[in-house]
């Protein structure tokens, strides 16, 4: 049996194992090990597994992951999100669909500190949905907006997805962060327009809240300013090369910790909870990466990624259509497995083809980010919808009806980014050079 056939059988076995309920990281390691042992030798495969795990766990680059996750967990578990929500409420709560727009604005600003989509959805499910219900908002709008806004963190820095993508493809994380800002803000704006338009067409969806006096609005302004300062220091430090990503993660975490302490929300229980959750998320992510590294080494000797790249680029199709097909593979794969796990698994396979097709790796990272944003909203693994359902008890069909317009706007934004890649690339090119 030749190497390619062994590789293909390995991938088929991998997909079969995924369905058994075994942890994805475990089965990637197993398949990688067995495949490598079959093609090389048992002892070299044993060395490979240990060396790959050792290198992944001792990699300075990967230490950024627990730090940025911790930053997000502290922001999420303290009352920072609630304060941001209430502050945004005072500024835009009175316009049509104001509370929905408040949720979008609050979540977008909150994402500047919290890279976790799930933490944002969980936090805002607990804060924003009860508030919107209090004002008589239709559940489709309230649940739909909360399930959708969490996804913005895939692009707004410090995005964990972009950090992992950057490490896998060896691209600058600072550049990826900058590339995510404009598309992230455009999506946020799209979401706001949808909420506004929906309520304008059907005013009964969202009764207006009362207008806050200006002195009240100025009073809450510092809540935005603190977040802006943390964001500028972390991203600015990364961009100017003053900090490495690990240092930026540390500075960000300490800054959020200080902010929580100043607001008297940094209690011992909150800290233990944040530490615990961030360690679990970091371990889950790094074991996935370690497993994918082992699997990647197996696939490399089968030459499947290079054959796939040659085959893909040799297809008698325009290159844009090939890229669309690659994105659809990410979308379908991420819909059945976890989206982040699929990105870790698929990127080393497709990345050579993307480069060969002549696409910008930074732009591709942002496209993958938007694809994952869509992936976490569509069944069967619509994790954001599941969280809203679990926390609020709102039925799936109502949440999905609410998510649909926002999902369509995400697809529109993905198309826009596809047609005009400069939306993502101009900011890093402008500030960091080509």
């Amino acid at each position: 049996m030749n190497e390619v056939m062994v590789g293909l059988i390995g991938l088929a076995v991998l997909l079969g194992l995924f369905l058994t309920g075994i942890e994805l990281s475990f089965c990637m390691t197993l398949v990688g090990f067995i495949g490598f042992a079959y093609l090389n030798s048992f002892s070299s495969a044993a060395n490979l597994v240990v060396k790959d795990f050792f290198d992944t766990f001792t990699s300075y680059g990967y230490t950024v992951i627990p730090l940025f996750v911790l930053m997000g967990q502290i922001a999420s578990n303290s009352d920072i999100a609630k304060r941001l929500y209430m502050a945004a409420h005072k500024w835009v709560g009175h316009v049509p669909g104001g509370l929905a727009m408040t949720t979008i604005a609050g979540a977008t600003i909150f994402k500047a500190m919290c890279g976790s989509t799930l933490a944002t959805v969980a936090t805002f499910s607990g804060i924003a949905i009860p508030e919107m219900e209090r004002y008589g908002y239709d559940k489709r709008l309230s649940a739909g907006v909360v399930a959708s806004v969490g996804t913005i963190g895939m692009l707004i820095p410090p995005s964990i997805v972009l950090i992992i993508y950057g490490i896998i493809v060896e691209q600058s994380i600072g550049r990826l962060f900058l590339a995510g800002i404009v598309p992230g803000l455009i999506i946020s704006l799209f979401f706001m327009c949808i909420a506004y338009a929906w309520v304008t067409i059907k005013p009964a969806m969202a009764p207006r809240a009362e207008k806050e006096p200006w002195h009240e609005r100025w009073r809450v302004l510092p809540d935005f300013i603190w977040v802006a300062i943390i964001f500028i220091v972390v991203i600015g430090g990364l961009m100017t090369g003053k900090f490495s990503p690990t240092e930026a993660g540390t500075i960000g975490t300490i800054a959020v910790l200080i902010l929580a302490a100043v607001k008297r929300q940094a209690g011992f229980k909150m800290l233990v909870k944040s530490w615990d959750e961030s360690l679990r998320t970091a371990v889950m992510t790094l074991l996935l990466i370690a497993g994918s590294v082992v699997l990647g080494h197996f696939l490399a000797i089968t030459e499947i990624p290079f054959i796939a790249a040659d085959w893909t680029t040799g297809l008698p199709l325009p290159r844009w259509l090939i890229m669309v097909l690659i994105i659809i593979v990410y979308l379908i794969g991420g819909s059945f497995i976890d989206d982040l796990a699929f990105m870790i698994l698929a990127t080393p396979i497709f990345y050579p083809a993307v480069l060969k097709l002549g696409y910008d790796p930074i732009w591709f990272g942002i496209m993958i980010g938007i694809t994952i944003m869509i992936g976490v909203l569509i069944p069967p693994v619509a994790i954001c919808v599941f969280i809203v359902k679990n926390i609020t008890g709102i039925p799936f069909n109502i949440i999905y009806k609410g998510v649909l317009p926002f999902l369509l706007s995400l697809i529109a934004c993905a198309m826009l980014l596809f047609l005009f890649p400069e939306i993502a690339t101009f900011l890093p090119d402008l500030l960091m050079g080509k």
Partner: protein
């Protein structure tokens, strides 16, 4: 007997998790000190090495508790459709696969550690020996095996555990 085993594994898992959390805090302190000292003109030499070493402890030692909490990613939509007996059989098979995998990795980490002792490999700046890391990771892998065995016990004999 079952409860003693489960609670012992849980306590060790929590202890390792707490060590990982403390090392994460230490990592942050060292990084912050390095940034401050660097701006004062005298950076801490070898910070990258220390952080890398700490990173392995943070991730390695937190693996067992993460498994205890079932925080790893897995696909469950097909499993959920199976009958309880089939679901149980599948869980037993996947737990056994996990136990074998981590026992194997743990054993090979020991061999790798012994290799590092023999070759006297040290880090470039601090001259820190590398071998404690694979031994630490090996310990964590064996604890992971115990955690998966505990999960297996809970699967085969559900209920009754405190």
């Amino acid at each position: 007997m079952k409860n003693i085993f489960l609670s012992t594994v849980f306590k060790i898992d929590v202890t390792f998790h707490a060590i990982a959390g403390s090392v994460l805090a230490f990592m942050m302190v060292i990084t912050l000190l390095d940034i401050i000292m660097r701006n004062l003109g005298s950076p801490i030499v070898g910070t990258v090495e220390i952080i890398s070493f700490c990173g392995s402890v943070v991730i390695g030692f937190a693996i067992p508790y993460t498994s205890w909490k079932k925080a790893h990613v897995y696909v469950d939509f097909l499993i959920e459709k199976l009958s309880p007996a089939s679901k149980k059989s599948m869980a037993v098979i996947t737990r056994c696969m996990g136990i074998l995998l981590f026992a194997f990795i743990g054993y090979n980490f020991i061999i790798y550690g012994l290799d590092l002792i023999r070759t006297k490999e040290v880090s470039p700046s601090f001259k820190l020996p590398y071998y404690p890391i694979p031994f630490g990771l090996s310990l964590s892998c064996f604890l992971q095996c115990l955690t998966l065995i505990a999960d297996l016990v809970k699967t085969i004999h559900p209920g009754g555990d405190r």
